[in-house]
Symmetry: C2
Subunit: 84 residues, 2 copies
DNA sequence: AATGTATTTAGATATTTGTCTAAATATATA
DNA sequence: TATATATTTAGACAAATATCTAAATACATT
Protein backbone atom coordinates (compact mmCIF):
# COMPACT_ATOMS: atom_id res chain seq x y z
CA UNK A 1 0.00 0.00 0.00
CA UNK A 2 2.91 2.25 0.78
CA UNK A 3 4.43 1.81 -2.67
CA UNK A 4 1.11 2.47 -4.35
CA UNK A 5 0.45 5.71 -2.53
CA UNK A 6 4.04 6.78 -3.06
CA UNK A 7 3.67 6.14 -6.79
CA UNK A 8 0.41 8.05 -6.96
CA UNK A 9 1.86 11.01 -5.09
CA UNK A 10 3.23 12.74 -8.17
CA UNK A 11 1.36 14.60 -10.90
CA UNK A 12 3.63 13.36 -13.69
CA UNK A 13 3.15 9.75 -12.68
CA UNK A 14 -0.61 10.17 -12.45
CA UNK A 15 -0.56 11.66 -15.95
CA UNK A 16 1.42 8.69 -17.21
CA UNK A 17 -1.29 6.42 -15.85
CA UNK A 18 -3.92 8.54 -17.62
CA UNK A 19 -1.99 8.14 -20.86
CA UNK A 20 -1.72 4.38 -20.49
CA UNK A 21 -5.42 4.16 -19.72
CA UNK A 22 -6.11 4.46 -23.45
CA UNK A 23 -3.28 2.38 -24.87
CA UNK A 24 0.14 0.87 -24.20
CA UNK A 25 3.07 3.05 -25.19
CA UNK A 26 6.82 2.81 -25.47
CA UNK A 27 9.03 4.69 -23.01
CA UNK A 28 9.93 7.16 -25.74
CA UNK A 29 6.33 7.82 -26.73
CA UNK A 30 5.49 8.46 -23.09
CA UNK A 31 8.47 10.78 -22.64
CA UNK A 32 7.39 12.78 -25.70
CA UNK A 33 4.25 13.84 -23.87
CA UNK A 34 6.20 15.63 -21.15
CA UNK A 35 8.59 18.54 -20.91
CA UNK A 36 11.06 16.45 -19.00
CA UNK A 37 14.19 14.48 -19.79
CA UNK A 38 13.91 10.85 -20.78
CA UNK A 39 15.89 9.68 -17.76
CA UNK A 40 13.44 11.44 -15.47
CA UNK A 41 10.50 9.75 -17.17
CA UNK A 42 12.36 6.45 -17.00
CA UNK A 43 12.67 6.97 -13.27
CA UNK A 44 8.95 7.65 -12.94
CA UNK A 45 8.18 4.52 -14.94
CA UNK A 46 10.37 2.56 -12.58
CA UNK A 47 8.46 3.80 -9.55
CA UNK A 48 5.14 2.95 -11.20
CA UNK A 49 6.47 -0.48 -12.11
CA UNK A 50 7.69 -1.18 -8.58
CA UNK A 51 4.21 -0.34 -7.34
CA UNK A 52 2.84 -2.79 -9.91
CA UNK A 53 0.72 -0.05 -11.38
CA UNK A 54 2.24 -0.68 -14.80
CA UNK A 55 3.96 -3.59 -16.54
CA UNK A 56 6.83 -3.50 -19.03
CA UNK A 57 7.34 -5.69 -22.06
CA UNK A 58 10.34 -5.57 -24.32
CA UNK A 59 9.81 -5.65 -28.07
CA UNK A 60 13.00 -5.23 -30.05
CA UNK A 61 14.68 -2.04 -29.03
CA UNK A 62 11.48 -0.69 -27.51
CA UNK A 63 9.96 -1.26 -24.12
CA UNK A 64 6.19 -1.04 -24.04
CA UNK A 65 4.42 -0.05 -20.88
CA UNK A 66 0.86 -1.00 -20.02
CA UNK A 67 -1.35 -0.10 -17.10
CA UNK A 68 -2.21 -2.76 -14.53
CA UNK A 69 -5.66 -1.90 -13.26
CA UNK A 70 -5.88 -4.84 -10.88
CA UNK A 71 -3.68 -2.97 -8.42
CA UNK A 72 -6.08 -0.04 -8.48
CA UNK A 73 -8.54 -2.45 -6.92
CA UNK A 74 -6.46 -2.47 -3.72
CA UNK A 75 -6.66 1.30 -3.45
CA UNK A 76 -10.34 1.15 -4.23
CA UNK A 77 -10.95 -1.30 -1.40
CA UNK A 78 -8.96 0.81 1.02
CA UNK A 79 -10.94 3.92 0.10
CA UNK A 80 -14.21 2.04 0.41
CA UNK A 81 -13.55 1.25 4.07
CA UNK A 82 -14.11 4.95 4.70
CA UNK A 83 -17.48 5.09 3.03
CA UNK A 84 -20.09 4.85 5.78
CA UNK B 1 -5.98 16.06 -5.89
CA UNK B 2 -2.34 16.75 -5.26
CA UNK B 3 -2.94 17.63 -1.60
CA UNK B 4 -5.02 14.50 -1.08
CA UNK B 5 -2.44 12.12 -2.49
CA UNK B 6 0.30 13.92 -0.62
CA UNK B 7 -1.66 13.51 2.61
CA UNK B 8 -2.31 9.83 1.95
CA UNK B 9 1.35 9.18 1.17
CA UNK B 10 2.39 8.52 4.75
CA UNK B 11 1.67 5.50 6.92
CA UNK B 12 1.18 7.53 10.09
CA UNK B 13 -1.38 9.77 8.43
CA UNK B 14 -3.24 6.81 7.01
CA UNK B 15 -3.32 5.29 10.50
CA UNK B 16 -4.70 8.53 11.89
CA UNK B 17 -7.51 8.31 9.36
CA UNK B 18 -8.16 4.70 10.42
CA UNK B 19 -8.40 5.87 14.03
CA UNK B 20 -10.83 8.63 13.22
CA UNK B 21 -12.96 6.22 11.21
CA UNK B 22 -14.44 4.95 14.46
CA UNK B 23 -14.71 8.18 16.44
CA UNK B 24 -13.53 11.77 16.75
CA UNK B 25 -10.51 12.24 18.99
CA UNK B 26 -8.53 15.08 20.51
CA UNK B 27 -5.02 15.80 19.27
CA UNK B 28 -3.60 14.37 22.48
CA UNK B 29 -5.62 11.17 22.27
CA UNK B 30 -4.43 10.70 18.72
CA UNK B 31 -0.82 11.35 19.66
CA UNK B 32 -1.05 8.76 22.44
CA UNK B 33 -1.56 6.05 19.82
CA UNK B 34 1.84 6.68 18.23
CA UNK B 35 5.47 6.48 19.27
CA UNK B 36 6.09 9.97 18.04
CA UNK B 37 6.28 13.42 19.56
CA UNK B 38 3.13 15.50 19.82
CA UNK B 39 4.50 18.22 17.53
CA UNK B 40 5.09 15.62 14.83
CA UNK B 41 1.52 14.37 15.13
CA UNK B 42 0.31 17.95 15.12
CA UNK B 43 2.14 18.42 11.83
CA UNK B 44 0.52 15.32 10.35
CA UNK B 45 -2.89 16.55 11.48
CA UNK B 46 -2.20 19.84 9.76
CA UNK B 47 -1.42 18.11 6.47
CA UNK B 48 -4.58 16.02 6.72
CA UNK B 49 -6.58 19.14 7.52
CA UNK B 50 -5.15 21.04 4.54
CA UNK B 51 -6.21 18.16 2.33
CA UNK B 52 -9.68 18.42 3.87
CA UNK B 53 -9.48 14.80 4.92
CA UNK B 54 -10.19 15.80 8.51
CA UNK B 55 -11.84 18.73 10.26
CA UNK B 56 -10.91 20.33 13.57
CA UNK B 57 -13.23 21.69 16.22
CA UNK B 58 -12.11 23.45 19.34
CA UNK B 59 -13.75 22.53 22.62
CA UNK B 60 -12.24 24.26 25.60
CA UNK B 61 -8.58 23.51 25.71
CA UNK B 62 -8.98 20.49 23.44
CA UNK B 63 -9.16 20.29 19.69
CA UNK B 64 -11.23 17.44 18.38
CA UNK B 65 -10.49 15.99 14.99
CA UNK B 66 -13.01 14.20 12.82
CA UNK B 67 -12.70 12.44 9.51
CA UNK B 68 -14.27 14.03 6.43
CA UNK B 69 -15.28 11.16 4.20
CA UNK B 70 -16.74 13.36 1.47
CA UNK B 71 -13.22 14.08 0.22
CA UNK B 72 -12.56 10.36 -0.09
CA UNK B 73 -15.26 10.42 -2.75
CA UNK B 74 -12.92 12.44 -5.00
CA UNK B 75 -10.22 9.81 -4.76
CA UNK B 76 -12.81 7.13 -5.30
CA UNK B 77 -13.98 8.77 -8.52
CA UNK B 78 -10.42 9.15 -9.76
CA UNK B 79 -9.68 5.50 -9.10
CA UNK B 80 -12.89 4.44 -10.79
CA UNK B 81 -11.82 5.99 -14.08
CA UNK B 82 -9.25 3.19 -14.26
CA UNK B 83 -11.72 0.38 -13.80
CA UNK B 84 -12.35 -1.11 -17.23
C1' DA C 1 -2.84 36.03 39.22
C1' DA C 2 -0.21 31.92 39.05
C1' DT C 3 0.15 27.30 37.56
C1' DG C 4 -0.96 23.28 34.89
C1' DT C 5 -2.64 21.03 30.70
C1' DA C 6 -3.37 20.85 25.54
C1' DT C 7 -1.80 22.06 21.36
C1' DT C 8 0.74 24.51 17.94
C1' DT C 9 4.68 27.15 16.04
C1' DA C 10 9.56 27.78 15.19
C1' DG C 11 13.86 26.25 14.02
C1' DA C 12 17.20 22.57 13.20
C1' DT C 13 18.59 18.35 10.86
C1' DA C 14 18.80 13.99 8.37
C1' DT C 15 16.49 11.56 4.73
C1' DT C 16 13.89 11.21 0.61
C1' DT C 17 12.55 12.85 -3.78
C1' DG C 18 12.54 14.83 -8.49
C1' DT C 19 15.27 16.52 -11.76
C1' DC C 20 19.31 17.05 -14.69
C1' DT C 21 23.56 15.64 -17.70
C1' DA C 22 26.74 12.15 -19.01
C1' DA C 23 27.68 7.48 -19.67
C1' DA C 24 26.34 2.65 -20.29
C1' DT C 25 23.59 -1.05 -22.39
C1' DA C 26 20.84 -3.19 -25.86
C1' DT C 27 18.95 -3.71 -30.29
C1' DA C 28 18.55 -2.60 -35.32
C1' DT C 29 20.50 -1.55 -39.65
C1' DA C 30 23.73 -0.11 -43.20
C1' DT D 1 31.43 -4.25 -37.84
C1' DA D 2 30.31 0.47 -37.38
C1' DT D 3 26.64 3.62 -36.51
C1' DA D 4 22.11 5.08 -35.09
C1' DT D 5 18.16 4.68 -32.01
C1' DA D 6 15.81 3.43 -27.50
C1' DT D 7 16.19 3.12 -22.88
C1' DT D 8 18.32 2.78 -18.45
C1' DT D 9 21.92 3.56 -14.93
C1' DA D 10 25.01 6.52 -12.36
C1' DG D 11 26.08 10.49 -10.03
C1' DA D 12 25.11 15.19 -8.62
C1' DC D 13 22.17 18.64 -6.58
C1' DA D 14 18.29 21.44 -4.96
C1' DA D 15 13.88 21.09 -2.86
C1' DA D 16 10.58 18.74 -0.05
C1' DT D 17 9.58 15.87 3.92
C1' DA D 18 9.49 13.77 8.57
C1' DT D 19 11.20 14.12 12.74
C1' DC D 20 12.96 16.23 16.99
C1' DT D 21 13.46 19.77 21.03
C1' DA D 22 12.38 24.22 22.79
C1' DA D 23 9.34 27.92 22.99
C1' DA D 24 4.83 30.11 22.38
C1' DT D 25 -0.20 30.27 22.78
C1' DA D 26 -4.64 29.23 24.68
C1' DC D 27 -7.67 27.69 28.01
C1' DA D 28 -8.81 25.86 32.82
C1' DT D 29 -8.29 25.69 37.62
C1' DT D 30 -6.62 26.87 42.05
Amino acid sequence: MNDIFKALNDATRREILELLKTKSMSAGEIADQFHMSKPSISHHLDILKRADLITAEKSGQFIFYSINTTIMEDVLQWILTFKK
